[in-house]
Amino acid sequence: MGSKGWILLVGILLAILHQDFWLWDDGSVLFGFLPIGLGYHAAYSIVVALYWWWVVRAVWPADSETSDDEAAP
């Protein structure tokens, strides 16, 4: 499987991981103040940023760079 396939697969996995149904009624608190459901989704946001960092490195659209060249004076 190529980079695009892996990226699509991980993207779908991230969408599934968003549904943290196992934490629905979990009232535990992290670090004494952060409800676990909120902590999970805050960490999820960081993982999503790392995912996009991988995406722009691995599959940056080459044709968009061509447009840069076309537009150059």
Partner: protein
């Protein structure tokens, strides 16, 4: 009184910044509308983020978390981190490239050219305008209610504080002044400055509010326990169905305009990666403040007022003033782009088309654009004086309409078989389904079969687009060649 003085100083600073950015203004309509397509990565990150983080993100999220608890973060913020960046990546970059190649300034121009159909433009224009207006309204309403609550029960302003209509009016004037002189370049600079202000001040406010409640641990301990979980307040299906709401960014006219300002495609890399983290930095504190407010205020306060009340409880007026200025920064960083985009749409899609763009000199175009921005601001201000809906719920309805138009922009970029009739069917279906569901909603958040109405709007829009496109004559190959060059096919 000190609170108001600090807010006035902040607004004056903003005008100075607008003045400085106008020195770079090239006095052309292209610079007014698109900053001559010269915006680099830092300004693009800040302006895209500042534009998407509206009153909804601060005032609305705090109020909604006060009502429904921590699940509000998952509903909007973490979905947005994934979906917004996907839209920037899949839609934004392509539209930027096409905009640069063919000189588009508005979405209507792109769709009209993509499908070679005049009616499409006439149909899309009023719908986009009708959907942006409520989005503007929530900004003015939030600014008014926040300053009102922060200044309430003070010696200088009496029990009711500064009336909302005064704050909304002053904000309109400030935004209009810097947009008037510097156009989108001034808006981008102001957005960057205001985004930094609301990120920094937001974090300061978070810790000060926590401190006023006895520390972060005590604040969470005192909060209503039902707000620390999702059981009982948000169903699983409801939670999942929010996935469709962030698709709306793909059709925000103000975001389209910001995308076109990028200097190069590479400029998009930073916004795609950093956007989810920036969302987290703003939303986590807001959600916690909303949850903590249930312990400090009880559970019967109006949700729109929660952030203002919590800031107003800070004993130090200097801090209250600074934090209020930060909230106004977040609100204004969206208002300027939205006002400007509506002015741009009226100028480009109505006046320039009626008169003929070639018939007007550049200074005449500039004059008309400025006049229209002023007209839009005045109309929105008057409407804000009579609107009373919940900020969060009004925004979600507005996002649902834009999300319904997302299949159209996606198909126009990736599916050659999309036809003008399919596009028109998709727009009409979105408008009809949205209107029916909105009119039937009782005012509070409406669910259909346990899901958000947006699910049905997007599905209906997609089905009508596909069915009608397949049943009508394809777009001619010469036109398609302009939008899907051969090199794309070989990859």
């Amino acid at each position: 009184m000190i609170v108001v003085v600090i807010i006035v100083i902040y607004l004056a600073l903003l005008l100075v910044l607008g003045g400085l950015s106008s020195r770079r203004f090239r006095n052309t309509s292209d610079d007014f509308f698109l900053a001559s397509r010269s915006i680099g990565p830092f300004l693009l990150v800040m302006s895209l983020f500042g534009t998407t983080m509206t009153a909804f993100a601060l005032v609305g999220s705090t109020g909604k978390a006060y009502e429904q608890g921590i699940g509000v973060y998952g509903l909007m913020a973490s979905w947005s981190g994934l979906i917004h960046s996907a839209v920037f990546f899949l839609v934004g970059i392509k539209l930027w490239a096409l905009g640069k190649r063919y000189g588009y300034v508005t979405q209507t121009q792109y769709f009209r050219d993509r499908f070679g159909n005049e009616m499409l433009g006439r149909l899309l224009f009023p719908i986009l305008v009708a959907l942006v207006v409520p989005y503007l309204l929530i900004g003015l309403m939030a600014a008014g209610v926040t300053v009102e609550k922060v200044t309430a029960k003070t010696e200088a302003f009496g029990p009711d504080g500064v009336p909302g209509w005064i704050t909304a009016g002053v904000i309109c004037l400030v935004v209009y002044t810097y947009v008037f002189f510097g156009g989108l370049r001034a808006a981008a600079w102001a957005n960057a400055f205001q985004t930094i202000v609301f990120l920094v001040v937001g974090l300061i406010a978070f810790f000060l509010i926590a401190d006023s409640l006895g520390g972060v641990e005590a604040a969470t301990a005192k909060a209503e326990p039902t707000r620390l979980i999702r059981e009982g307040s948000i169903s699983r299906l409801h939670f999942t169905s929010y996935l469709f709401i962030p698709l709306s960014v793909g059709m925000f006219p103000h975001l389209f305009q910001h995308w076109l300002t990028a200097r190069s495609a590479r400029t998009f890399k930073a916004p795609v990666v950093l956007h989810p983290v920036l969302i987290m930095l703003v939303w986590v504190p807001c959600i916690l403040i909303g949850v903590w407010a249930t312990g400090a205020l009880g559970t019967s306060k109006p949700p729109n007022a929660i952030l203002g009340i919590m800031v107003g409880r800070l004993q130090d007026p200097y801090i209250s003033g600074l934090v209020t200025a930060g909230i106004l920064a977040a609100i204004m960083s969206s208002l300027d782009s939205q006002f400007l985009c509506l002015g741009t749409m009226f100028s480009q899609d109505v006046i320039f088309r009626m008169k003929g763009s070639d018939q007007l000199t550049d200074s005449q175009k500039l004059f008309r654009a400025r006049l229209f921005v002023g007209g839009v601001i005045l109309c929105t201000y008057l409407l804000s004086l009579v609107t009373t809906k919940s900020i969060f719920d009004l925004a979600v309805w507005c996002f649902s309409g834009f999300a319904g138009l997302f299949p159209l922009v996606l198909a126009s970029l990736y599916w050659k078989r999309t036809t003008a009739a399919g596009a028109i069917a998709s727009i009409c279906t979105t408008a009809a389904v949205w209107l029916i569901l909105f009119l039937q909603s009782p005012g509070k958040e409406t669910l259909i079969l346990g899901m958000m109405p947006v699910v049905f709007i997007v599905l209906a829009s997609t089905v009508s687009l596909i069915v009608v496109s397949l049943g009508t004559k394809p777009v001619d190959s010469q036109r398609l060649q302009r939008f899907f060059p051969m090199k794309d096919e070989s990859k």
